[in-house]
């Protein structure tokens, strides 16, 4: 079972306490953007085979959203960090690189 530590309340939450929220760090495109950008924002996803940044909500706990870095092949969790983050923090990137030397941020 997946265990993620909620950065808001510090609890190591089991999967049943959490709700997945899809890909993290999506760049929003609004009504004035091009059709292609708007489509990409709404529908197209990284769907990475390997390192994946994603949103989670601690729904049966503190109720707050947070972000996680996880491997979709091994299900290894590299770390969690607050939702108020525009890009993966340096320490998370360092943790991933320590375990996946070939990986580079997109």
């Amino acid at each position: 079972m997946l265990l993620l530590t909620c950065p808001c309340c510090g609890i190591a939450a089991e999967e049943t306490e959490l709700h997945p929220g899809g890909e993290a760090h999506l760049k929003r495109f609004g009504p004035d953007s091009s059709d292609a950008d708007f489509e990409a924002y709404l529908f197209q996803r990284e769907n990475a085979k390997g390192v994946h940044f994603e949103r989670w909500r601690h729904v049966n706990g503190c109720g707050k959203w947070f972000l996680a870095a996880r491997c979709t092949v091994s299900l290894e969790v590299f770390g969690t960090y607050p939702a108020q983050t525009l890009a993966p923090p340096a320490e998370i990137i360092a943790k991933i690189k320590a375990k996946r030397p070939d990986w580079s941020p997109a």
Binding site: M1, L2, E15, T16, H19, P20, G22, E23, D35, A36, E39, A40, L42, F43, Q44, R45, E46, N47, A48, K49, H52, E54, T72, V73, S74, L75
Partner: protein
């Protein structure tokens, strides 16, 4: 290729079974093909088969990373039905269902299609209205379905508890011509027929890159070297995103794990397929006597072919409510597959930004039932360069244009 028949069995009995041939050949790769299909699952093999049968294109290779039919084709719960709400879905799934009816004869290979009937239970007032609407839509689409009352549900499947504690059965959508088929045999039958037409089925050959020139596809780099092609069909389900990245475009698809499980074999107790979408579980009995059980997909991206335990718990809990007699059954095996989910839960059969490269993906949790129809439509698109009537609505551009085929809302669950 020798035909399978009662006479063949009798003949072989007299010569120590020495006359049987391999069902499909293991040829070596050629350097150039008219068409390459990536992925030897049901959809990929069906695409190759109808390319040869309907369009006369037989210089085709089907290349597969693992073994034939070892992905979702061998991991589903084998249910076949076509009672969809939206017109484009009903058309392609009904085409598939009708092709399943004659598949064993077409292939001279027994796929054990069993049109035993499928009931989708209505367990809330909302679901009753939903299924009545689907039944009306189906009669306009030419798909034979019927809304039946609880008494008829009980008559068709006596082991159902229609007075369930949380969700009593209020009726059901009954498709008498739906059913099940042997999923491995579907892949094997297509493979045998493709091999018989002279197509090359190459297993354990992983595509590592898609090579293109001036925006048009030239071939694929594989673990067995470069193979050139005029047309490329990508039919790889859960790994569609990976192949799309090689070909230089992105897809509105996410890959998640979907699980199924079977119980220990018991004596025959149900001869229909029952789907209970409110509590979310579905069950049928295999010819071996195992209860074949499926439920919901996980919500997060996953490429591991195994899912979360709580989803098994949820599914089994739901089914024990509906079928109290299974409460003491032991579960025998559990497995998972990677399904590719689109936003509207409808598939993609489309041209791609790369010329002469075509994609068939996004079948999500309901691909097995569609195999023949999907192959038919994809083969037509690859042969003619443009999607035909079955595939036209399933293009990639529907997301940009807002023309969704919204089965996620119509079904209320993944389907």
């Amino acid at each position: 290729m020798p035909r399978y028949s009662a006479f063949a069995i009798a003949k072989e009995a007299f010569r120590h079974q020495l006359g049987w041939e391999r069902a499909w050949k293991s040829p070596s790769l050629k350097s150039q093909y008219d068409a390459i299909i990536v992925g030897a699952g049901g959809h990929g093999l069906a695409t190759a088969y109808y390319l040869g049968k309907n369009h006369g294109i037989t210089n085709v290779a089907v290349i597969e990373k693992g073994w034939l039919g070892g992905g979702n084709t061998g991991r589903n719960t084998t249910i076949i039905r076509s009672n969809y709400l939206q017109d484009p879905s009903a058309a392609i799934y009904e085409k598939a269902r009708s092709l399943y009816e004659t598949m064993s004869q077409d292939f001279n290979y027994n796929v054990m299609f069993s049109p035993r009937g499928v009931i989708m239970l209505a367990q809330t007032e909302h679901e009753v209205r939903g299924y009545l609407r689907t039944a009306h839509a189906n009669s306009l689409q030419g798909v034979t379905t019927e809304f039946i009352g609880p008494d008829k549900v009980k008559e068709l499947c006596p082991i159902i508890n229609i007075d369930g504690p949380r969700y009593p059965v209020l009726g059901g959508l009954w498709q008498a011509r739906g059913g099940t088929a042997r999923h491995d045999a579907v892949a094997w039958g297509y493979a045998r027929a493709c091999s018989d037409m002279g197509m090359d089925i190459i297993q354990q050959c992983e595509v590592t890159d898609v090579r293109s020139e001036n925006g048009a596809v030239k071939g694929v780099e594989t673990s067995k070297g470069f193979i050139g092609c005029k047309k490329l069909g990508i039919v790889v389900a859960g790994h569609s995103g990976v192949l799309a990245e090689m070909a230089g475009f992105r897809l509105p698809v996410e890959s998640v794990a979907l699980q199924a499980l079977v119980s220990e074999p018991i004596k025959p107790c149900m001869d229909v397929v029952v789907m209970a979408n409110t509590v979310h579980g579905y069950m049928s009995q295999s010819d071996k006597g195992e209860m074949v059980i499926g439920g919901g997909a996980d919500g997060y991206n996953n490429y591991t072919q195994r899912g979360s335990f709580q989803h098994i718990e949820e599914t089994v809990r739901a089914l024990i409510e509906t079928f109290p007699m299974i409460s003491r059954l032991k579960m025998l095996r559990q497995w998972g597959g990677i399904v590719d989910m689109t936003g509207d839960r409808s598939p993609i059969i489309s041209k791609t930004p790369l010329e002469n490269c075509f994609i068939n993906c996004g079948w999500g949790t309901g691909g097995f039932k569609a195999i023949p129809g999907s192959g038919w439509a994809t083969a037509e698109m690859i042969a003619k360069g443009e999607p035909g009537p079955l595939a036209a609505e399933f293009g990639l551009n529907r997301f940009r244009e807002g023309r969704f085929i919204d089965e996620s809302v119509a079904a209320g669950v993944a389907h």
